[in-house]
């Protein structure tokens, strides 16, 4: 008898054939030409537009939408990509409901924003489908830039530096470039291998070498990079995972959500990916939602997302919370884990209700769990790093660290809000600053 949603324990193939493809299809199917024109027409072409102000990469949104409306989506794409070279991925993963679309005057007036994210995707998809790369490199400067980390920050820095005429080497610990775009985003936001396709397209600029399988402490040292290159950019993300710190955490079935998501993204046949019947995800951010929703889509019967504070404190946007709820994820707030129970493998996880200040109430409850995903934050890892600000690399200005000649951006750097789009902006701006400094020195 085949496994079903009801099968206890952690098992694969819970769903009938075809269900996986349906469940992991595009969250927002792309706009067709007519839909794009209708959506574009809703844009008022605002003066000093609030959407552009809200965009961490300052994309001239009214202009690109007007370019779509007038039948030139590739020109629109260039407007986008000039500011944000990963505009294709950002169109898919940006929490637009808290950025550009939140401040769209039509959102404010009517509760229905212009579909900025989907229009951005329409434009960038059109350009990428045409296979063209609209940027060319400036004359070679003879300068070399090392980029550590092939995630959004590193890729954006590398592209901009290469475009300005520098030679770039990107190092990454993983076998494939892309960082969280490739390993960390929910599958239904980046279907059909988009993350890799985007990296391949980005590298068409030329002058960028990807050296995979290396990271600081594993084949690289900052000292060596500094002596081999004219500038170093660190976009190393947060590769460590926080622990629950409760009894029984080491039991089988208690896993890091980021690893589950990475495995899911790299799995070619989702029906072969095991998932529990009763899944509990601990955390309140995007990673927690991604893990919870995808567990459900893989066929878990019960998925609970448990967050220790109130719902208004959750980092996951309202849209993400609604998405989780719509897929059948039960969101439980004000509960902190206190113990993992089970005989070798997790059977139950015990929580205690806590108020928004995490004051224990003494009231506890247990949830059945054959799989627990921890999504309570990630931490910086690496050796010989520049000075930290709290738990991240301290930066000033356009990503300058405490070490001259070393810049940092993305999740590993202080400030920012851990979004793809912020990482892109930081990588881009660091490259501009690197350029200014290198060429200033040269001059």
């Amino acid at each position: 008898m085949p496994d079903t949603k009801l099968t206890p324990g952690i098992t694969a193939n819970r769903l009938p054939e075809g269900a996986y493809a349906d469940n992991f299809s595009d969250l927002h199917p792309p706009l067709d030409d007519h839909e794009a024109l209708v959506a574009a027409d809703r844009c008022y072409f605002c003066h000093d537009a609030p959407c552009t102000t809200a965009c961490p990469t300052d994309i001239d949104i009214p202009l690109f939408i007007r370019q779509i409306a007038t039948g030139t989506p590739e020109a629109a794409a260039k407007t986008i990509l000039t500011q944000n070279i990963l505009g294709g991925m950002c169109a898919r993963v940006c929490p637009t409901e808290t950025l550009c679309e939140e401040v769209c005057v039509r959102e404010v007036a009517e509760g229905k924003p212009v579909l900025i994210g989907q229009l951005q995707r329409y434009a960038t998809d059109t350009l990428m489908a045409a296979g063209t790369h609209p940027f060319t490199r400036a004359d070679a400067t003879g300068k070399r830039v090392a980029v550590v980390g092939a995630g959004p920050a590193g890729l954006a820095c590398a592209h901009r530096a290469a475009m300005l005429g520098h030679d770039v080497v990107i190092y990454d610990s993983r076998a494939k470039p892309g960082g969280l775009n490739e390993f960390g985003i929910a599958a239904y936001k980046s279907v059909d291998g988009f993350a890799q396709a985007e990296v391949d397209w980005l590298l068409q600029i030329g002058g960028i070498t990807v050296d995979a399988g290396k990271s600081l402490g594993e084949g690289l040292t900052l000292d060596q990079l500094q002596s081999d290159f004219d500038a170093v950019f660190l976009g190393i993300g947060l590769s460590g995972v926080n622990a629950l710190g409760v009894e029984g955490e080491d039991k089988s079935g208690v896993l890091d959500a980021v690893n589950f998501i990475a495995d899911l993204r790299q799995t070619t046949d989702l029906s072969k990916l095991p998932v529990g019947r009763d899944v509990v995800v601990i955390g309140g951010g995007m990673t927690a939602v991604d893990a919870a929703v995808q567990s459900k889509l893989l066929g878990a019967l019960n998925v609970s997302l448990v967050y220790r504070r109130g719902q208004d404190r959750m980092n996951a946007s309202q849209f993400e919370q609604d998405l989780a709820a719509s897929k059948g994820v039960r969101i439980i707030t004000n509960a902190s884990p206190t113990a993992v129970h089970g005989n070798g493998s997790v059977r139950e996880i015990e929580f205690e209700y806590t108020d928004d200040d995490l004051t224990p109430t003494g009231q506890t409850f247990r949830l059945a769990a054959d799989q627990v995903f921890k999504a309570i934050g990630q931490t910086l890892q690496g050796e010989g790093l520049p000075n930290l600000d709290g738990r991240k690399i301290a930066v000033t200005g356009a990503g300058r660290t405490s070490i001259a000649g070393v810049w940092a951006g993305g999740d590993c750097a202080s400030g920012g809000d851990d979004l793809t789009v912020t990482a892109v902006a930081e990588g881009r701006d660091a490259a501009m600053d690197i350029h200014t400094q290198l060429m200033g020195c040269a001059g």
Partner: protein, 434 residues
């Protein structure tokens, strides 16, 4: 409920909504469907002289321009008059009129400019039992190259002459359909009146090219790589048509000649506007071609509701109501001073008023860091551009300054008395009072 029955130069119809002479009225099948849908009358697709019918192109006959969501705003055509045998049309008209005695059936006619041709066709048409004839002096393409249609309409002497022949050879009411492709619409209208026409109808279509294909550089609609100008109609032409109707309605010499209003009528409101400017009824084509015959139901209910609200019991109470307010520029009151006012509660902060005024007008809109928009009265000339570009209807309005208030732009007190350009000191033609 308001009485929508219409009596236009003695032609009665259940409502003032007629289908204009055009493809929708080319044959019995369509016309029966139109009457069943609720249209009050039809002007049958233009009949030509007996003999081999005209032919049409076998490629696209229509071109268009569109607004948002591909809403059709303007339509252009290069179709000619009916390409079916005259007798076929006449037989069908006879049958239709017999079955719909209370509906208006008017024959549109176009034959060469000689008396015999007109006499011949008028005799044939009268036998159908139709209610009147409309002389097509408007078609701007194809037939005009053969000396008919707008080639006649553009020469007032021909218009008058043909109208005279028609009045001589038929007892049916004669409507002259005017072309807008002319400098002064009053001239052919006067000629029609002088020729004895009972009414004019306008506008016919406007010379136009809807676009150019930027790949093969051919005008659109394109026939085998070439394009000829067509006749433009639809919502886009309404303002032009309204003005031409108004020009005729307000000209005393035209003696209140009855007008059938045509040009972009798409909703009841459009129809009411034509009628307020003096049209006794309206003719519709593009709206029906875009949406089908059913739209007349909205026109009927809308006009009826409007008339009820206004306490009008008959369409005659609406016809011409706006005519007394038509004026020349020189007679507009220069002591009427208004200023733009922005309703902050309604403002969605798009800033279009600011961009428009700052870049292209009088720098009279102010903008704060947090996007609050205001009006600088000392710069505002009340041009209304901000009102027109604002996406929120009613958000920006023009507020009248009362007499005694200071116009901050001029520093002068607003005067109570009406005063216009004719007496303005800057007018070189004004004789100083002293």
């Amino acid at each position: 409920m308001a009485d929508l029955t219409s009596n236009f130069i003695g032609i009665k119809s259940p409502n003032p909504f007629w289908l204009a002479s055009a493809p929708p009225t080319d044959k019995e099948y369509n016309v029966r469907r139109a009457f069943e849908a609720g249209w009050g009358g039809v002007v049958w697709k233009t009949l030509g002289e007996d003999g081999p019918p005209v032919v049409n192109v076998n490629g696209p006959r229509y071109g268009a321009i569109w607004g948002a969501d591909r809403r059709l705003l303007g339509l252009n055509n290069i179709e000619l008059i009916t390409d079916r045998p005259l007798q076929t049309n006449l037989d069908e008209m006879t049958r239709v009129k017999k079955d719909y005695p209370d509906h208006a059936v008017v024959a549109s006619l176009m034959v060469p400019v000689d008396e015999d041709s007109w006499k011949a066709i008028l005799g044939r048409v009268a036998e159908t039992g139709c209610d009147g004839v409309e002389l097509n002096f408007g078609c701007p393409h194809g037939m005009s190259e053969r000396g008919m249609g707008s080639a006649v309409g553009q020469v007032p002497e021909y218009v008058g002459q043909v109208a005279e022949w028609c009045k001589k050879h038929t007892d049916l009411p004669v409507i002259v359909k005017l072309t807008p492709n002319i400098t002064d619409i009053r001239k052919p209208a006067q000629a029609a009146k002088d020729g004895g026409a009972d009414a004019v109808s306008l506008i016919n279509t406007i010379n136009s090219i809807t676009g150019v294909n930027l790949d093969n550089f051919a005008p659109e609609p394109t026939i085998d790589g070439k394009g000829a100008h067509g006749g433009y109609c639809g919502p886009a032409v309404k303002p032009i048509a309204l003005n031409m109707v108004a020009e005729i309605a307000r000209t005393p010499g035209l003696g209140g000649i009855p007008i059938s209003g045509i040009g972009g009528v798409t909703t009841w409101r459009d129809a009411a506007e034509f009628m307020a400017l003096g049209a006794g009824n309206v003719q519709v084509c593009t709206a029906a071609m875009t949406y089908g015959f059913k739209i007349v139901q909205e026109m009927i209910s809308g006009l009826s509701e409007y008339m009820d609200e206004k306490g009008m019991t008959s369409t005659s109470e609406l016809v011409g109501r706006a005519v007394p307010n038509l004026s020349d520029w020189q007679h507009l009151n220069l002591n009427y001073v208004t200023k733009a006012r922005i309703n902050e509660d309604m403002c969605i902060k798009c800033g279009r008023c600011y961009a428009a005024c700052e870049d292209t007008s009088h720098q009279a809109i102010t903008m704060t860091e947090d996007r609050v928009f205001g009006v600088d009265d000392s710069e505002c000339v009340a041009c209304n551009l901000c009102v027109n570009v604002c996406p929120v209807e009613g958000c920006i309005t023009m507020e009248e300054l009362q007499p005694g208030m200071i116009d901050e732009r001029t520093g002068r007190e607003v005067e109570e008395d009406y005063a216009n350009w004719t007496s303005h000191p800057n007018n070189p033609g004004t004789c100083a009072a002293e």
